[in-house]
Symmetry: C2
């Protein structure tokens, strides 16, 4: 049985004070910011490539080619496609043709890159998560939460539990736009209803070291920002399986969700989003959770990378 703090430690597993000399910083020539962290297999794959410079004395990997967003994005794409063609990283087999942005200190987009490649460069990714729930009723029925189970055959986190709706924010949309789109795609929730009733409720961030369940290479680094939304549903609106990503939707009591968390059935970052829901709704409190302060502060990790 995992404690809630165990769940935080497992999802936010990268140390706060990194002193691993094998973790190199990813930068872009002429831009002082650190944009991500690169592990040895990726560093070595970039060594001696045109447009790239690996500096072992400063432990830095520098994209030297390109001087604007378009040029850098094109070089990045060409680099990744060449790696894929050489069969270098399993992750690259999941190429989706979805662009994710990398931001600089002034929140400008420095480059975009293929979504599936983000863990190779340890770049911050942005997602949206909604927790849909049936509020407690006046006649005493307790709050219930819509919890989907991921399809068993998914390569990443197959069969695990998820946030009601979750997905990535692409480089050409806002978080709220991504949320409305995902609610329709993943849970068949009516667009007009979501536009009117979804409530932005903050952000959860973590720095994850990819394990086996993630699929593909392990040990890659994944700093993540999750925009979080609450979506109270009346009885006549239900979440329904709408694609092959989801096996089923369950409408569970808080106790059922707590048991599944303790059993480590949730995808690691979705466990954090659920804990944050519990904290905001008075379910986890200073009185019933001994690690309350640690958990609340750990749910909102600061990165040394510029963010959106």
């Amino acid at each position: 049985m995992a404690s809630n703090l165990d769940l935080v430690n497992e999802a936010d597993s990268f140390p706060y004070h990194n002193d691993d000399k094998n973790v190199y910083r990813f930068t872009v020539a002429g831009v002082p910011a650190i944009l991500g962290y690169i592990t040895p297999p990726v560093r070595d794959a970039l060594r001696d490539l045109p447009h790239w410079q690996v500096n072992d004395s400063t432990q830095t990997v520098i994209l030297t080619g390109g001087s604007n967003r378009e040029e850098r994005s094109a070089i990045m794409k060409q680099t990744l496609l060449a790696m894929r063609d050489k069969g270098q990283f399993q992750l690259l087999k999941k190429w989706r043709d979805e662009d994710f942005p990398v931001y600089g200190e002034r929140k400008e987009v420095l480059l975009t890159f293929e979504r599936c490649a983000s863990p190779l460069f340890g770049i911050v990714t942005y997602g949206v998560h909604a927790i849909a729930y049936k509020p407690p009723s006046v006649d005493g029925e307790q709050l219930k939460i819509w919890v989907p189970r991921r399809a068993r055959n998914k390569q990443s986190y197959g069969g695990m539990l998820d946030s009601t709706v979750a997905g990535g924010v692409a480089s050409d949309e806002t978080p709220f736009e991504a949320l409305v789109r995902e609610c329709e795609e993943e849970a068949a929730l009516p667009r007009e209803f979501v536009l009117k009733h979804a409530v932005a409720a903050g952000m959860v961030s973590d720095f994850y070291i990819r394990g086996k369940q993630a699929g593909g290479e392990t040990g890659l680094l994944q700093p993540e920002c999750h925009y979080v939304y609450d979506l109270p549903l009346p009885s006549d609106i239900v979440c329904a399986k709408n694609d092959d990503e989801v096996e089923e939707f369950n409408l569970w009591t808080v106790d059922e969700v707590k048991r599944a968390l303790a059993n480590r059935e949730f995808k690691p970052n979705c466990a954090l989003v659920m804990l944050y829901f519990f904290i905001r709704h008075g379910i986890l409190t200073a009185e019933n959770e001994k690690d309350y302060i640690q958990i609340v502060s750990r749910l909102h990790r600061r990165f040394e990378f510029p963010t959106r």
Copy 2:
């Protein structure tokens, strides 16, 4: 006009990477944890006192006397009373005979100390804040928030705006007990109502460098954890002045509160609690607040000190 990020920077003003060699760490003999930060005037007042050791090579101030909670607390009290009698720190004139706890790594209370002295040792303090509000009505009346103005003659933050109810958590009560007590004392809110309707909603933490408005010596260090509660009030329950601490209660729209924030009318840590309310209730969003990610993560500072 202050931006919301300015307000965060002003309340959470101590640097994340402190390299000021004049800030000494407060420890207790035999306990490996760092318990607080001490500035030069306090360090020098403790130098050569019995039961204290100032180590300039490790930049540490050690309470060497006492081997358990009671003995350490007694020595701390005796030290502080002696300082007060010598007229050494203005802060000590506000002696309240309220005990605050200092926790160790296993959440055990290592000692307690007089509340007004906490900034002298840079020790983490624990408070409760409730935001009472009138929810939006079905006929379209918008959400309004109960905002008190502190009495003009208060030495600390006189005339500034505050959380609806705020106070310290003493060493013999839980945060929720403190909240119920303060709601009655400060806003004349019925105990039974608060017990039933206050919702725990998380925690805000910051590391403040005391400025002029705080009263007493400036430059002292104050790490703070604020347990945050939401208190939705029906129309027939109002907040009312119940002691001399409050000048008046206002029932304000979100726009009125936003203006007061931008005018820096809120006590610094209460501005953070209000921003967190705005974030949880979909008032500040990724779309309307350019510094959204920075603000959400900065509202929950991690300390290197053990906490409750």
